[in-house]
Amino acid sequence: MSSFELFIVFAALIALVALVAIAIDWVGRPLKTKRFIPRIYRFEDEIYHEEPMAGLAQVDPVAGYGTVGAGPQVAQAPVPYSHPPIAPYATPGAPPTPDAPPKPPEVVPPSKPARPTVVATVHEEQAPLTDALGSDPKPTRSSSVFSDEISDDADEDPEQSRIASTEPVAAPTSWQPGDPLDARQNDRKPTTALKAQRFWQTIAATLEADSHFDDAARSRMADGRAPRRRNPRTGSTETASLVGLRSAASADEVRMYWPDDSVDPWSAS
């Protein structure tokens, strides 16, 4: 591809990206006038009332809380808080005077922010609260059900002492002769060489006492290596080979063979 064609392709990609950006902006334009009003108010003074509370700055929940994008907001000058006038004490039993100024509404002081509720724990004991600086030199173990620490208390109900078991997982046992050849090791599929090693080790473990393999061959197979023999015709050392190993899951699916080029003229095949 020449440089000119490359430039054309690059320009087309840039144009495509620009079109996508324009489309996103076009779709997102009406959202700019949307106003976001939080549904949950934690504090009393954030809850919208029809009658303005005396002494408190009226906050327009529509315009006061973050609006997305531009939009004319109802600008209100903040009203400083002033203590309401104290009503005169009424005499007990005396009817209220008609000319008496209207009883100012009760001023409800802003409620203190609610303390975050402590998570319910199963145990009566509760870890002492520490400040943010963690001045407690010896932080005690949390006995919350959400704790993942093992509790040393033997009297605790083991079923409720923890949600997730934190007992040490027993180390996975290594492969043993007789196990499947394709057993995973370290969560990995065994290689063909490893499967061959396992095959020979399985054969070595299942050899009969009067097998035609001598001690040297048995030792080799126990080490995971193929047996060898000396070819008296050529004088060379030959090693047994395997067939069907790649897809085999057990030793029965694998066949070993010695190098041989003889032909049976009377065989059916």
Binding site: D214, R230, W258, S262, V263, W266
Partner: protein, 145 residues
């Protein structure tokens, strides 16, 4: 017959030498007759023949190496040597154990005995004690010239 022996094996059995292979000089056109006298019933036994150059023709098949198995070949078979450059033929025994064609391992070996009709090869497979009665064959060579 030339002889070759595996190291570490018993060199003799009943006063006779134990061999791995038996080498016989042959030439083009020679006819080898193999009569199977006895064979083990526990597993298939074979007598294998191979030439250095050329082929061996038997049952319409011409290949350099032939295997005469006890479970497929007739009791008496004839093998023809084919090739002008053939000089020698090698004989050795084999057996099938677990579906594996094996030779020259374990207690395997060949002991040669002579009788009036030819040479008798007593073969032992590699399993168990060597008794040299796992395969007993008589081999006779009819020279072409």
């Amino acid at each position: 017959m030339a002889e070759s022996r595996l190291p570490g094996r018993k060199p003799r059995w009943n006063g006779k030498k134990v061999l791995e292979i038996v080498e016989v000089p042959v030439s083009d056109g020679d006819i080898i007759t193999i009569d199977r006298i006895a064979s083990s019933e526990l597993r298939a036994q074979a007598l294998k023949l191979g030439v250095d150059k050329g082929d061996l023709r038997a049952n319409g098949v011409a290949v350099p190496t032939i295997a005469v198995w006890s479970h497929t070949a007739p009791q008496s078979v004839t093998v023809e040597v084919v090739g002008h450059k053939v000089r020698s033929m090698t004989l050795w025994n084999a057996w099938s154990h677990g579906g594996v064609d094996s030779s020259w391992i374990g207690s395997s070996g060949i002991v040669i005995e002579d009788d009036d009709s030819g040479r008798i090869l007593r073969c032992s497979d590699g399993l168990g004690e060597a008794t040299f009665d796992d395969l007993v064959v008589r081999v006779a060579i009819d020279r072409s010239s």
